[in-house]
């Protein structure tokens, strides 16, 4: 029956908080990979070579419509079949980074599509190179429109890190499982994991809203 033990809770709390660092680290690295790779995937769909567009488009759709946990297993187990051994962290980061890169590429794509055609034409008229067009004109304008989506996926990747526990990345969920099987008590570890997730994701989501408003104000785009 219901018997919450506070002494046990405080006993396991240091280990859970330590594992929280790993969770945050995993989310941070994964998000970093996704930010860069997502841009690559988005830009690859805008080249004049249509076969590339088609392949990347289908690849993104495939990643987005299959389960992350299965992709994590895939990356982790497929390497050894070819003699490449990846440790859990590396394969976990590849899988989660790639998964969210696919999502972020859609966010970027929507952002880029929101730029009026005149901006592109003006860049052409001024004879700006493709690189200058993107990095100086288009991306700075597309960013504010992309920020809400980017923020949502930052919280999303954080909430998906528990899936890394399936290949043995020692993050929060993995530690809670270990604690549960060591002590045969599941109530406190799992509940505390939930509380820690809430304690991080709710303020983060609120903070992101403030940040978006601030960016829009700074760029003089607020309505």
């Amino acid at each position: 029956m219901f018997d919450w033990r506070w002494d046990f809770t405080f006993e396991i709390l240091p280990r859970l908080l330590w594992a929280t660092m790993n969770t945050l680290l995993a989310a941070g690295i994964g998000y970093g990979i996704a930010l860069v790779l997502g841009l690559v995937l988005a830009l690859a769909q805008r080249t004049p070579y249509w076969p590339l567009t088609l392949i990347v488009r289908e690849f993104v759709e495939f990643i987005r419509s299959t389960p992350l946990v299965l992709q994590i297993f895939f990356v982790f187990y497929v390497g050894p079949q070819f003699g490449i051994r990846l440790d859990p962290w590396t394969s976990g980061m590849i899988a989660i980074g790639l998964h969210y890169a696919a999502y972020l590429s859609e966010v970027y794509r929507a952002g880029l599509d929101s730029i009026p055609k005149g901006q592109w034409e003006a860049c052409r008229a001024l004879n700006l190179s493709a690189r200058r067009t993107y990095f100086r004109i288009i991306i700075p304008q597309a960013l504010p429109a992309s920020l809400p989506g980017m923020g949502n996926y930052l919280v999303g990747i954080f909430k998906d890190t528990p899936m890394l526990s399936v290949i043995g990345v020692a993050e929060l969920m993995h530690t809670a499982n270990a604690l549960g099987s060591e002590t045969y008590r599941f109530l406190e570890p799992y509940t505390m994991v939930g509380v820690i997730f809430l304690a991080i994701s709710l303020p983060t989501a609120a903070g992101l809203r403030f940040f978006e408003a601030w960016v829009r104000r700074t760029l003089g785009m607020s309505k």
Partner: protein, 221 residues
């Protein structure tokens, strides 16, 4: 072992797994839609108490991981005297999780119905129940169908996690087959393709069809 031989040996198990995944998806969808409509409407209630319940539900299920919720429902609820079969715990967790996201979609869609519709219904002296059921909600459905298409794909992906509490779904079978054959590309690759087919060739087209049918029914296509 060639891929054809692999399929001949293990194809049946993939089919068994896919059937469990389909069952989980359908049952979780029922839970998700019920919770989404209920909580979405409660979120618009004038009573602070009713609104509070819905807000707490939505924030808890959107603020934590599906995996955490699943383990909590499966391992911790029994301690409160509510033991659940793993199959039931699986679709309940997935459905409750997606229901929280769906509740925000429902709320958004209802709020997006033009204000004139409320006023007209009020002017015609329709009761609040009739107003919602006959005027507002049908129009909101039309607005919420496209986001629901995405949510159902997320839901399908979410059901893969029930393998971690040993429900023998597609993910679980793939893991088992990988464990006994070490043919990882074949085992996980086949499962990935089946999920993709479910998502992009069953759920997405069905939702597009539904959007079309609903739009025609409402005289908007």
């Amino acid at each position: 072992m060639s891929y054809l031989e692999f399929l001949a040996t293990y194809g049946g198990r993939f089919v068994d797994g896919a059937i469990i995944t389909a069952q989980q998806t359908v049952l979780a969808t029922v839970v998700a839609i019920s919770m989404a409509v209920l909580m979405g409407l409660m979120r618009l209630s004038p009573s602070l108490f009713v609104r509070g319940i819905a807000t707490v539900y939505i924030e808890i299920f959107r603020g934590t991981s599906l995996l955490v919720q699943l383990f909590w429902i499966f391992y911790v609820l029994p301690l409160f005297g509510l033991p659940l079969e793993k199959f039931t715990a699986g679709f309940l967790a997935v459905g409750m999780n997606l229901g929280a996201y769906g509740a925000e979609v429902v709320r958004g869609a209802i709020q997006a119905v033009p204000k004139g519709q409320y006023e007209a219904a009020l002017a015609l002296n329709l009761s609040p129940m009739t107003r919602m059921r006959r005027i507002i909600f049908p129009q909101a459905i039309l607005l919420m169908l496209p986001p629901w298409g995405n949510l159902l794909i997320e839901l399908l992906k979410g059901t893969a996690l029930v393998a971690l509490i040993s429900v023998s779904d597609l993910m679980f079978e793939a893991k088992q087959i990988n464990g006994s054959t070490f043919l990882s590309i074949e085992a996980f690759g086949t499962a990935l393709v089946i999920y993709y087919v479910f998502g992009r060739m069953v759920i997405s087209p069905a939702m597009r069809r539904l959007e079309h049918v609903m739009a025609r029914k409402m005289g908007q296509a």
